[in-house]
């Protein structure tokens, strides 16, 4: 796969994953040997940027940079788990809906359209209020459960159009059963498209998670980038002069979205080669 967007996006994403995984221990070892930069009350709160604290300390007396680097991994985890949940569910439902004919087809279309239009944010907020102790997996699963309708909505027509191709007819005539047709004939050509949808779902889940945090009712205590932004906004860190504690997490989120967006564009081009020729043909 020699697609420039995919390569650049993947490198960007890989760099972020390295920062997320290695960052906390590197910051701990290099900048604060023998101290506990991630512990509440380790330092005086709201210290301005200095050589020892590059982006200052936060309201709980932790080092800002340490908080930032340790927030990245949970955010990415939520994105991937929730994205995988909604993509998995959506692909199964989309295939069922796309492969079915007649009344089942109509019914599944109405069901998908229905779930698609239910505004998810109020329902998510509701659940957020009722669940006392959040953990990362609970939050990710719930986000995933709300995201499948979009996936099913875009997978279904793809399956429908593939099902009509003559090579599928050939497979039917040569005696393959429905399962074989789905897994051997329909699924493989759709893999790049499913990858594309997965990447979109990750973005959607991270977006929703940070949104919940920022509106102030999300998973209190889960140390994610969204939580850091929300906390910074509530404690008005910008007014204090701690710009980095707001801009770094916001920048990191946008960076991840950009990387995924590049991968998306690339996967879309792989799946849909006409897209590339029309756009580049005009250049």
């Amino acid at each position: 796969m020699r697609n420039r967007s995919i390569i650049i996006g993947s490198i960007m994403l890989a760099l972020m994953i390295i920062v997320a995984l290695a960052g906390p221990s590197v910051v701990d070892q290099l900048l604060f040997p023998g101290e506990r930069p991630g512990m509440r009350g380790s330092y005086r709160p709201y210290q301005l940027d200095s050589a020892t604290h590059p982006i200052g300390t936060d309201g709980d007396g932790r080092d800002g940079l340490m908080v930032f680097v340790s927030s990245i991994w949970p955010s990415l985890q939520i994105g991937v788990i929730a994205g995988a949940t909604s993509t998995g569910l959506g692909v199964v439902i989309g295939f069922l809906a796309g492969y079915a004919r007649g009344r089942l087809d109509t019914l599944s279309r109405i069901l998908i359209d229905m779930v698609l239009v239910i505004p998810t944010l109020p329902l998510l907020l509701m659940l957020a209020a009722y669940i006392d102790r959040w953990d990362l997996y609970k939050l990710s699963l719930i986000l995933g459960l709300f995201g499948w309708s979009f996936v099913a909505r875009v997978i279904r027509p793809q399956v429908q159009s593939l099902r009509e191709r003559s090579y599928v007819d050939l497979a039917v005539l040569s005696g393959e059963n429905s399962l074989e047709i789905v897994f051997l004939e329909l699924l493989p050509p759709l893999l790049p498209y499913i990858g594309y949808v997965f990447s979109l779902s990750i973005v959607g889940s991270m977006l929703a998670e940070a949104g919940l945090q920022i509106i102030g009712l999300g998973a209190g205590g889960l140390p994610t980038l969204g939580f850091m932004i929300a906390k910074g906004f509530r404690e008005s860190v910008i007014a204090i002069g701690l710009l980095g504690q707001m801009l770094l997490p916001a920048g990191a989120l946008i960076y991840v979205f950009l990387a995924l967006n590049l991968i998306n564009t690339g996967l879309d081009e792989v799946f849909n080669p006409r897209l590339k020729t029309t756009i580049e043909g005009g250049d």
Partner: protein, 359 residues
Amino acid sequence: MTANSSSRAAEPSEDQQQAGRREVFQYALRRFGVYLFTLWAAITVAFFIFRLVPGDPMNILLGNLTRAEGRQRDAEAAEAIIAHYRQIFGMDEPLPLQYVNYLRKAVLGGLDLGPSFVEYPAQTKDLVFRRMPWTIGIFTTSVLLAWIVGTGLGALIGWLQRSRLSKLAVVISTLLQITPVYLVALGLIIYVGYTWRILPAGGPYARHLQPEWTWEFISSLLTHAVLPMLSNMIVIGAGFTLGMRALMISVLGEDYLTFARAKGLSPFTILKDYAFRNALIPQVTALAIIVGATLNGTFIIEVLFQLPGLGTLFVQAMGLRDFNTMQAVVLFSIFAVLTLTLVVDLALPLLDPRIRRTA
């Protein structure tokens, strides 16, 4: 259509037109049926989600009351109070009966969605109607403006695709489009609102004013609305720009455009009548698709800018576990999203003569 469709007449005959009209009517009727069914189903799903989540709203309400009064009640009195409230709010009945009652009151009782727990005996309906203008105002104005600006800009960028400026515009739009709307809102609040102090960044209007028809109040209202709308517009507008550009580029590759150029039509005529018009139809469909997601974003924007809209109402109600109010807000959002989608779907045949004749 019957045998008439095989006739070679260039103009559709009387019969054909009639058949076409009948089909459009059937399309509209079918679409409306699906709308009603979806509305019912969505309301049902929302009702049961609200009732089945754990946590007894009455206990929480009583807890709030107790804390507000600052003294403890004995258990027996507490039980009596809870039972009384349950009766008032119709929560002592079995769930299926509650559901039937809820639907009956909502449909036949003139949108009677029950009283609010918090502002009892105020009706939930009134609370929602009082907040609705804010949400609708911010939402529709920013989405429509974003659509107009984005469509125009996208058409232009797509038309001038070879120029360096349009490539730069694509990069900027992509960056803006992937930025979450709340980060744009936070950025505007922090920089434009607090650091540079150009525009007010919180509240519906200046604190010392009362709602009235004076120039002072209206201008204060408008300046306070700029930033919330701008946050919505930047992100949605960038999406529309990119969408329209892609549509324009695919239209520009069509043969009939080459033909129009060969005919010697002016570039402006080609842009206006050949390229733009044909790219416009999918762009209208795109408007319908983003309605739901944008409403979510508008709720967050309201909270960030402290506007008294439905999003803020929901967050307040949630803190107090005010079931009825939360449910009313969700119902209203579902209704709004479905209705707007319906309107766009029904408007499409008017725009596209192909759908009008053959739908």
